[in-house]
Assembly symmetry: C3
Homo-oligomer: 122 residues x 3
């Protein structure tokens, strides 16, 4: 099953959409399989994050500017981050760890409507 999903982002940083994705998996009626997300943009990427450190709305590479490559330009960021993620489906749900969520990582200061292609296979 192929579905198209749009995630709107207000600006740079992480935006969780785990619930939207689990709803798609539930609608697909797949009990065991694989859910693959693909983002059709170069200026945003996908991330599985655990969020143990508190709210994850911020950009991991921007907010840690005293510790890491804060000035990493978008082109490099895009080359090192994920356009695609596959998550196993087990018992009708994404097989995420307890604290894990699925995030769209916006790299532009101004966000937008980001198009994802979701493939759910049995």
């Amino acid at each position: 099953m192929i579905r198209h999903l749009t995630v709107s982002t207000p600006g740079q940083g992480l935006h969780e959409f785990t619930d939207q994705l689990n709803a798609l998996v539930r609608d697909a009626g797949v009990r065991e399989g694989l859910c693959t997300l693909f983002i059709q943009h170069a200026s945003a990427s996908l991330l599985i994050d655990a969020g143990q450190d508190g709210p994850s709305q911020n950009d991991p590479l921007y907010t840690h500017q005293n510790e890491g490559p804060d000035d990493m330009p978008g082109h490099i960021k895009s080359a090192l981050t994920a356009t695609q993620i596959s998550i196993p489906v087990s018992e009708g749900r994404l097989a995420l760890g307890t604290w894990q969520g699925v995030y769209l990582w916006e790299h532009r200061h101004r966000g937008g409507a980001r198009r994802l292609v979701v493939r759910i296979g049995a």
Copy 2:
């Protein structure tokens, strides 16, 4: 369906092979499914790039030497880049965004014949 694909690279940087890959998908006769690429080398990787910035033959981490980690050694580059990418197939084609292409990213100054395993599943 498993296919083997060889992409020859003249040297360091990005080398597009979207057309070769779409031809494989067409030959597979799969209308809806998943195409997974896996590169059998550590000194090259895979990248989905949008190429809006003009020709993408150059190396994203090398050409931006005034902005980023230009001296990143091959071992680190290999650890942070993608050995594998999965792309949904929709209506018999790779479901790429308008500007996106599939690139082999050569990390060695001298390129070579790079072996890929391609799996196309319905």
Copy 3:
């Protein structure tokens, strides 16, 4: 087929588990397909490494401290490394290159029992 796999790590660095994974693939009886690994933690990731440089037990970002970002904090490392990898299965085995192995990359100084979800599809 969904399986759960635990890899125990004594501490930071790379820990190979190719043999364990090939055993799972063999038990699944899948001759041709796709094996997807997903790690249910944020403080560890997955890596395909070629190990040509000798033993790969060490951390690629730590041991090269004179060449690269040795002080990269865990949060950034997690954002730039792989939570998930898919490997084609061909002739009943993982279609790895001659020198490639599958590694769990522990980011914490103290390791632990790391949970993986493995999906093997025909």
